[in-house]
Amino acid sequence: MAEWEYHPPPDIDESMAEHLRNFPRQPYMLMYAIRSIAALLLRGWMRVYHRLRIVGVENLPESGSFILVCNHTSHLDTLCMLCSMPLTKIHRTFPAAAADYFFSSLPRSAVSAILINALPFDRKIKGAESLTVCSQLLGNDGNVLIIFPEGTRTTTGELNRFRSGIGRLVVDTRLPVVPCHLDGGLKAWPKGKLLPRPYRLKLRIGTPVSYQHLDKSSESVQRICHDLQSRVADLGRIDE
């Protein structure tokens, strides 16, 4: 009789905390169920409490992997971006989240991993390693990555300089990058405040760009960062 093949998952010896912190995470039914319910509740809350308007949903690519980049004024940015994705895609949409903040404790890891489906991004020591994880993720067709190239939340409302990571990730690839701009986040939930306030939010989704025509050099990376930064800034200016 031929032998059966078993496929135990690689994370079988990990504790709960490691399950949540490590990436890529194995799929769990309970996690998916909780995340789906949370996404529905989140949509309701954003519509009612923040009267979120999303402009340009039609710009989101319908298939394939892509990256969403956005200005970073508050935690609401991530939540709004998640609301712009179709519900069927939320389990394959990964906001890159600072590992030192969002995965610093067990409760935080649980919220980040289960509800937000965050990808732990090491912005301090292992930045290059985290980028590799990101590009592997995007190599699987149909995954969506949400990145805030500023690296941290702005306190002034000014768009900070885009870090080079996003450039290094997309240079010389076919990956579409979708620039987005969220308006109202700073007022609704400034850095340091415990809870968001009921201000209006507006998410504007721009047209996708890709940078396969550029070669892998530091100049190209800089050019991409500048280009994306001005695209996000332009989206923000439309309403003014």
Partner: protein, 315 residues
């Protein structure tokens, strides 16, 4: 019927509370003394800390009463089956996994509801008939999906998962309907764990001859015999748990726990060895997964249940 009020007035529950409290305290002080005189006990400490979490959980659940016990057993069965499903790769098949989950929920429901004909809590007939329906539903899945490749393995794993880890283990929840629930539940949990520890200890002290070297190389015949001896003594010490038992029932009970407990252990061992993993999970630090902890119960509980039901009736 088990309730909080009854637990507070149950001599059996309170005695067991004192016994496990005493054992925990005694073991803790022994460990404390050992580490004070410079022995390395760090790995035993981990195991002990695990007990410090698990014992209050078990005692608390039994304290809360029948509903809590049935829900608690169902959760253990679900998460235990999940470990099995993940280890074997069955978990990739969400239809079959979900179906077994539903089956376990159905078992808990059957343990909980009132028997419509006999009018007392716990629908025995449905509980015993459920494997027919769940296995029937499991073998339907490939037909619904119109797929044959690899389906025998998936279906077989799901059936083993449901019948062994779900149905056999869920008998523990059904025991909560007995009028001797406190005695039966507490005796089973305590005796099975003592049997495990006895097998380990006797094996360490006197172990020479391997019991089943291709399955679990650390188990020895000496450990096994020692554990059976201890398990044969325990029911006499805990006779107050089941005052209606005659002496030969005590012998029978001891044998069920002593032999069944070790067989349950070996079952999980051969499953793990065939898959090629060391533990079924890592949810309890120092103990491994849920199945590594309740493995002996899975074998003991249904046999105890049916033998005692045959002699005394389960109510």
């Amino acid at each position: 019927m088990m309730t909080i009020d009854l637990a507070l007035h149950s001599d059996i529950y309170l005695t067991y509370l004192a016994i496990v409290g005493g054992i925990l305290g005694f073991a803790g002080s022994v460990l404390g003394i050992m580490s004070a005189i410079g022995k390395d006990v760090s790995s035993i400490w981990k195991t002990y800390r695990g007990w410090l979490i698990m014992i209050p959980l078990v005692m608390g659940t039994i304290f809360l009463g029948r509903t809590a016990v049935i829900i608690g057993v169902a959760l253990l069965a679900i998460f235990g089956f999940k470990e099995f499903a993940r280890a074997t790769g069955l978990y990739d098949d969400w239809w079959l996994t979900g179906l077994v989950y539903l089956g376990i929920v159905a078992l808990a429901t059957a343990s909980f509801v009132v028997d419509p004909r006999l009018n007392y809590p716990g629908w025995y007939g449905l509980f015993m008939a459920l494997p027919v329906y769940v296995v029937g539903a499991i073998v339907l899945i490939p037909i619904i999906r119109n797929r044959a490749k690899g389906q025998l393995q998936q279906v077989a794993l799901a059936i083993v998962g449901f019948v062994y880890f779900g149905w056999m283990f869920s008998h523990l929840g059904f025991l909560a309907n007995s009028q001797y629930a406190y005695g039966y539940l507490l005796y089973l949990v305590l005796a099975v764990e003592i049997n495990d520890i006895a097998a380990f200890t006797f094996g360490k002290l006197f172990g020479k001859h391997k019991l089943r070297e291709n399955i679990s190389p650390n188990k020895t015949i000496e450990g096994s015999i020692g554990a059976i001896c201890v398990s044969l003594i325990i029911p006499w010490l805990l006779w107050f748990s089941f005052p209606h038992f005659e002496p030969w029932h005590l012998v029978l009970t001891g044998l069920i726990v002593g032999v069944g407990g070790q067989l349950g252990d070996l079952v999980i061992s051969f499953i793990k060895r065939d898959i090629g993993i060391k533990d079924m999970g890592a949810i309890i630090e120092g103990h491994g997964g849920i199945l590594d902890r309740v493995d002996s119960m899975i074998f003991v509980v249904p046999i105890f249940f049916h033998v005692m039901r045959w002699i005394h009736g389960i109510r």
